[in-house]
C-alpha cells in the first residue's frame, strides 16, 4: 500500500470538492459560536417573522434566530459524526489488529462478536436507549461506535493477515521484535489508507443517524440539531417558511453528508489498489 496519498488524492475532483466543503464546515464549527449574531436559545424575538436585515433567516416558532440556530446545529451534527467515527475507527483498528496478529482463539472470539454486532441494526439499539434513558448525545455517539467497528476491523484483520506474512514483518519478528513493537511500528503505519476509508464511511453513517434521531425527536429538545430543525419547520409547512426555515437546514445536512460521501468514495477509489483498477 505504498501510494503517495497527497498527490494521488489531490488530482481527484471529488476529493477536492469534498475537502473544500469539509474546510468550510470546519470553519463554521470552530467559529460558529462567535459568528452567531444572537444566542440561539434566546426566545425574545417575534415568532415566525420573515427574514430581515437583523435576522438573516428570520425567526422560528419559538422566537429564536434561525441563522444562529443553524450555526450551532451544524456544529452538533458534525461533532457527533466525527466523535462516533473516531471511536469506531480506534476500536476497529485495535480489534482488527489483535484478531489478525494473534489469530487462533482471540481471532475466533472477536470475529464472532463482530458477526453478531453486524447483524443487529444499530439504529434500533439507539432508538431504544434514547427513548428509555434519554442519555446525552455523547453516550449515544459512543454506543453507535460500539456497533460500527466490525466492518473496519474486518478490513484491518484481512490486511493484517496478509501483512504478517510479508518479508519485512517476518524479519522484524526474527530479530526479536515484540508483538506490540511490530504492531506499532510496522502494521499500524502501513494500513493508514484503510483508516481514512473506514473513518469517512463511519462518520457518514453517524451524521445520518444523528439527523434521523433528532428528526424523530429522540434528543433533548434544547440541543440544536439539523434533524430537529427540519422536524420543527415541517410542522409549519403550510406557512410560507420553507425557503428561510426549512431549506437552510436541509441544504446544510445534504452538503455535510455529501462532504463525507465524496471523501469516502474518492479515498476508496484512490487508496484501494484493487478498486483502483476497477474504477480507473
Amino acid at each position: 500500500m505504498h501510494i503517495d496519498i497527497r498527490q494521488a488524492v489531490s488530482r481527484d475532483p471529488w476529493f477536492v470538492v469534498g475537502f473544500s466543503l469539509g474546510l468550510i464546515f470546519s470553519i463554521m464549527t470552530l467559529l460558529g459560536p462567535p459568528l452567531a449574531p444572537f444566542d440561539p436559545w434566546d426566545i425574545s424575538f417575534t415568532p415566525l417573522s420573515p427574514p430581515s436585515a437583523r435576522h438573516f433567516l428570520g425567526i422560528n416558532d419559538g422566537g429564536q434566530d434561525i441563522f444562529s440556530e443553524l450555526l450551532f446545529a451544524v456544529r452538533n451534527t458534525l461533532t457527533f459524526g466525527l466523535i462516533s467515527g473516531l471511536v469506531a475507527l480506534a476500536l476497529g483498528v485495535l480489534i482488527g489488529l489483535a484478531a489478525g496478529w494473534f489469530r487462533g482463539f482471540v481471532d475466533m472470539i472477536l470475529m464472532r462478536i463482530a458477526d453478531v454486532l453486524l447483524a443487529i441494526p444499530a439504529i434500533m439499539i439507539l432508538i431504544l436507549t434514547a427513548a428509555l434513558f434519554r442519555p446525552s448525545p455523547w453516550v449515544l455517539a459512543l454506543i453507535l461506535s460500539g456497533m460500527m467497528w466490525p466492518t473496519i476491523s474486518k478490513a484491518i484483520r484481512a490486511q493484517t493477515l496478509s501483512l504478517r506474512e510479508s518479508l519485512h514483518v517476518r524479519a522484524a519478528a526474527q530479530i526479536g521484535g515484540g508483538n506490540w513493537y511490530i504492531i506499532r511500528r510496522h502494521l499500524m503505519p502501513e494500513m493508514f489508507p484503510l483508516y481514512l476509508i473506514g473513518f469517512a464511511a463511519k462518520a457518514r453513517i453517524a451524521m445520518f443517524m444523528e439527523a434521523a434521531l433528532a428528526f424523530l425527536g429522540l434528543f433533548d429538545p434544547s440541543r440544536k440539531s439539523l434533524g430537529m430543525m427540519i422536524g420543527y419547520a415541517l410542522k409549519y409547512y403550510y406557512m410560507d417558511i420553507w425557503w428561510n426555515w426549512l431549506l437552510p437546514p436541509i441544504a446544510c445536512l445534504s452538503l455535510l453528508i455529501m462532504t463525507v460521501t465524496f471523501l469516502a468514495i474518492s479515498l476508496e477509489k484512490v487508496l484501494d489498489p484493487r478498486l483502483k483498477e476497477a474504477l480507473g
Binding site: 443487529i120 441494526p121 428528526f215 425527536g217 480507473g280
Partner: protein, 327 residues
C-alpha cells in the same frame, strides 16, 4: 461481506448460530433495558406524555414492566404476540403493529426492487460503455445523488410536488372513507405511494448502480467474456447472461447489509409523508412516550431484518453456484 463465501453445512450452522445469538441479544436487551431504569419510570415517562393514565392503568403498566417471571416467560410472550397494551392508542400493541406492517412492507419492498433493477441495468450498461462521456457523467451524477440524505430528498419532494404543485397527496396511504371499486382503490394507493417511493428509490439506486458498475468492471476483462464474444453471441447476451451474472453477488450481499440501514431511511421517509407504516407509528409512539409500542417496533423489526439477512446469506449458493462448489 459479512461472511466468507464458503457455505458448507457447518458454515450454514455457523450462520444460523450467529444470527440466533444476535436475535437473542436483541430480545434480551429489549427485556432487560426497561428493568434497568432507575426509580419510578412509569410516572416519569407518562408525566411528560399526552396520555393520561388512570390509577388502574398505571398499576397495570408498572406490573407489566416489573413482573419477575424471567426471560423465558418473556420469550414465550413474544412468540404469542402478547406485546403489551398501548395506552396511547388504546389497543393491544400487536394489533396496531400488524395494521402498520403491510404498508411498510409495500413501501420498502417496492422501493428496493425498483432501485435494485434500475441500479443493476444502468450499472451494467455504464460498465459496458466505460470511459465514454456518458459513463463518466453517470458516475458523477450517481455519486452526487448518493450524497443527498433521504430527509432532504423527502422534504424537497413533499414541498415541491405535494404542497406547491399539489400533484400528489401530502399524507396518508389511501383516501379515507372512499368507497370505490378495486381499480380506483389501487390507483389511489399508488397515487399516495408515489412520493415516498420516489424518495426511497432516489436514495437507494445510486448505491446499487455504483456497486454493479464496479463489480462489472472487474468481470468485464475476464477471459470468459472474451470467449463469449468470440463465440459470436449477441452483445446483450454477453452483457447480461455472461458478465452481469457474475457481477450479481456483491449486489445481493449489499442488499442484505443495507437492509438494517434502510430501516432508518424508511422511518424518516414515512414520518415526512405521514405514511401509516411502522416508521410513523414509531414516531407517534415516541412523541406520546408510549413505551410498549416503541419496544415492540424496535424488537420485532430488528428480528425481521435479521431473518431477511439470514435468508439472503443462505440463498447465495443458489444465485452463484461457484460458492456451493468452492469447498
Amino acid at each position: 461481506m459479512i461472511f466468507n463465501l464458503k457455505h458448507s453445512a457447518p458454515r450454514r450452522l455457523g450462520l444460523v448460530i450467529t444470527f440466533g445469538l444476535a436475535a437473542l441479544a436483541m430480545i434480551y436487551l429489549s427485556y432487560s433495558l426497561p428493568r434497568l431504569l432507575p426509580g419510578d419510570f412509569v410516572t416519569a415517562m407518562y408525566s411528560s406524555s399526552d396520555v393520561t393514565l388512570t390509577a388502574e392503568q398505571e398499576a397495570e403498566l408498572r406490573a407489566y414492566y416489573t413482573e419477575e417471571l424471567g426471560f423465558g416467560h418473556y420469550l414465550v410472550k413474544l412468540f404469542r404476540l402478547d406485546w403489551g397494551y398501548s395506552y396511547a392508542f388504546l389497543t393491544p400493541v400487536s394489533t396496531i403493529f400488524f395494521e402498520a406492517l403491510p404498508w411498510s412492507l409495500l413501501l420498502l419492498g417496492t422501493a428496493n426492487v425498483i432501485s435494485m433493477i434500475i441500479g443493476f441495468v444502468t450499472g451494467v450498461e455504464a460498465a459496458w460503455r466505460r470511459d465514454s462521456r456518458l459513463e463518466k457523467g453517470m458516475v458523477g451524477g450517481m455519486t452526487f445523488i448518493e450524497g443527498i440524505p433521504e430527509i432532504s430528498t423527502g422534504v424537497i419532494l413533499l414541498v415541491v410536488f405535494a404542497l406547491n404543485l399539489q400533484w400528489f397527496p401530502a399524507a396518508g396511504a389511501e383516501t379515507a372513507y372512499a368507497e370505490v371499486s378495486l381499480c380506483a382503490r389501487l390507483a389511489d394507493v399508488g397515487h399516495h405511494l408515489a412520493l415516498p417511493l420516489a424518495t426511497l428509490v432516489l436514495a437507494y439506486f445510486p448505491g446499487y448502480f455504483l456497486l454493479t458498475r464496479n463489480s462489472m468492471m472487474m468481470v468485464i476483462k475476464a477471459a470468459f467474456v472474451t470467449t463469449a464474444r468470440a463465440k459470436g453471441l449477441t452483445a446483450r447476451r454477453v452483457r447480461y447472461a455472461h458478465a452481469a451474472r457474475n457481477a450479481l453477488l456483491p449486489l445481493v450481499t449489499r442488499f442484505g447489509l443495507r437492509l438494517a440501514f434502510m430501516v432508518t431511511g424508511a422511518l424518516v421517509v414515512e414520518t415526512i409523508f405521514s405514511y401509516p407504516g411502522l416508521g410513523t407509528l414509531l414516531f407517534n409512539a415516541i412523541q406520546a412516550r408510549d413505551l410498549p409500542v416503541i419496544q415492540a417496533i424496535v424488537l420485532v423489526s430488528s428480528l425481521m431484518v435479521l431473518t431477511i439477512i439470514l435468508g439472503l446469506e443462505l440463498v447465495y449458493g443458489m444465485i452463484d453456484p461457484r460458492i456451493e462448489h468452492a469447498h
